[in-house]
Symmetry: C3
């Protein structure tokens, strides 16, 4: 069944996922302008230049146009006490599709419930970021050649990081996946996510020794320790607990890939040269893949 | 006589108003791209996502393009001491038309006086907001079927609210209008506006009992109490002085309409469901009408 | 040799400069849409509405599209500790060309060194602003008819002003130029720039009496005293040290021209009427020239 809004990654079934990936592959080389005359509104209550520009570029490449605000929290009528519902109903009068980033979990669902046009969740607080998960999965598929029978090592902030959460929900739809979670203890993966994985027969382990598991990984999914979510002491202890260096990168198999939702800070200690020449470092290809996945998604929701 | 800039609603004569409304009606269903190659600059010294996105969407739908800033106060050379005149003359080199929102009354006139391209006032402090008045009037015309011989109940902040002011100036151009003003005493309508209405033979009364006058109204025009313009105590006393609830909405005739320039806060206490299903609630249709009126105005000024 | 990025004005040789000027002249009257399907990203870590809107308008007029942020410092991942290199590599995935304004000298070179698409420096702290120099030079060429054998009086903040620096580098490429520097002592031109001029056989003098040299000038290039770079006392002493008034404007030859990179504050004391009617006042034509020069540059770098 075709979805109308993309609020959380669980909504996507395997058939839709592969349809989107096939479309993304086509759009890499296409010059189709199928969204001419359509308008995308980007409503960012929390700034994210990377995600916003990715969606805006995707829309423009398909021939559409863009309106938006990068500072909805301060500049929109939210500052005057307007409800999110009213803001969405207003913007839905001006645009054919809305991409929303919001600081509160659940706000994407609220937006979708009143909008007369499709809403894409581009991050809702500690909630989800489904297009990030989709581009992560698309990158795994393109780089590894399969989404079944792979081992994914997830590292860093597994508690607050919404990209880990959204990606796990998607991985749960495939076969013979094994996930190895590696995090500082106070940032370990939450129980509800573990329950989800059990229910979907995904093998997972929680481990502490990154270097021991790097040789087994098909995918290493690094994430940033989010300074803004913890005390300074916690951050100082956690920020370099697990890092990728020139040394331990060499533990990865040639066919394995290092992914990261970006931005990265101290957890990646590779030189620009290694990033540019070592084929295992895939996170800038991952960024570019995001563009094609978002083009595919905009096409799908506006068709 | 064709106007070049739209600074205040009084500039518009009845003939021009109806020409704009006719054009707006056409543009609801048209796909004309008559502004291809034209550039709109939105210069917002005071943020307003609603108004800015409405103008930008209008321009894009007509095939034009948009440049702009949502934070001109902080980001433009105004912060370095540049005069508004110089800023406007600069932007007029880049664009074919300018939409300006400014925090100071009179600034739209200053901009218009030096600009080599048309300027539209999108709000100048306690001054005017003529396109809001125009979309209000267009909504009344579409919903009621006439602009003569109607009773308008205006409620809320009648002192500081520039939309009430701009709308009254427009209503002054029609026949057999009756306005009933209902406001907390310290927010009652100013004398200069009353003088204008007298001069233009518009009947008006100042009343206190909202529910008594709802059954007489063809249009109820609610406005927000603007917290940012008064003390906390004043706001607490005023904010719920006059509200529309499910109960008193039922006092309205079936053919009457509830309008609001939005955003609304405590003065409207209707459920989302009532807003979506009760045909008397017209403020989201009003928002959409704003898009078509602004398309018509951009076409008119750039023809 | 064709340049790929424009980081500093010295990169431009005389042949390229004249090719750009010829193209700019053509684009004044052309409606070519040669950049259709191309995307410009404007990344402004320091706000500048004038420069940003000029580039954006230039891109749109050539049929291209624009994405960007006017507040990259606060809104991009820079706030989360991401390196400039990573930000640039990300944005280069979304766009065909990047225009960057940054608060740190040298950052344009860093951006260019990692970007997979052309980068234009739109100001890097106390570094350079090469398109400003290019539009200054283009204005001199159009207004005076030649770039050789001219006398330029440069006035104001010659120490911190990066436009003076970038323009001197360009003037160094032409014949029989004479520059007269006039500045408060603590804002006089730096030694490295003097050394550059000597090396390129450009005559220059440092003088104190503005009115004495106005009659000799072909070009008077005024600049703003930058309050944000000095103490309040220094600013108070410097701000009106050298001004252009209705009186001393009359000392200029009829064929001479008054230029200013704008914004101007106290150093220009002319009425709006004089600015609009005295042909010697060229700084708003200079603004418009900036649009055509940037169109030419975008075309050149994206060809």
């Amino acid at each position: 069944m075709k979805i109308r809004h993309l609020v959380e990654s669980q909504q996507l079934d395997v058939e839709t996922i592969f349809a989107l990936f096939k479309k993304a592959d086509e759009l890499r080389v296409s010059t189709e302008k199928s969204l001419e005359g359509k308008i995308l509104a980007t409503l960012f209550y929390e700034p994210s230049t990377r995600t916003r520009l990715s969606f805006e570029s995707a829309m423009l490449k398909l021939g559409g146009n863009v309106i938006g605000t990068e500072n909805a929290k301060e500049f929109s009528s939210a500052a005057k006490g307007e409800s999110l519902q009213d803001s969405i109903r207003t913007v839905a009068s001006y645009a054919d599709i809305i991409v929303q980033r919001h600081f509160e979990k659940g706000s994407a669902q609220i937006a979708a419930s009143v909008s007369s046009v499709p809403v894409i969740n581009a991050g809702d607080g500690a909630g989800q970021h489904p297009t990030q998960a989709l581009l992560d999965l698309y990158t795994i598929w393109r780089e590894i050649g399969s989404l079944d029978n792979i081992t994914v090592v997830m590292v860093g902030d597994l508690k607050y990081g919404r990209t880990v959460r959204s990606l796990c929900y998607l991985l749960g739809k495939f076969q013979d996946i094994k996930i190895i979670f590696i995090a500082p203890e106070f940032l370990s993966v939450k129980n509800d996510l573990k329950d989800y994985l059990k229910k979907h027969s995904i093998l997972f382990e929680e481990q502490a020794d990154l270097n021991k598991y790097l040789p087994q990984a098909d995918i290493v999914y690094m994430t940033r320790i989010q300074k803004e979510r913890m005390s300074d002491t916690e951050y100082e202890n956690a920020k370099e607990a697990y890092t990728i260096t020139e040394d331990n990168l060499s533990l990865l198999k040639d066919k394995s890939r290092l992914l990261h939702p970006l931005p990265h800070v101290e957890e990646i200690k590779l030189s620009v040269k290694t990033e540019q020449t070592d084929n295992r470092v895939a996170y800038f290809r991952q960024v570019e893949n995001g563009l094609y996945v978002r083009m595919a998604l905009l096409s799908y929701l506006l068709e």
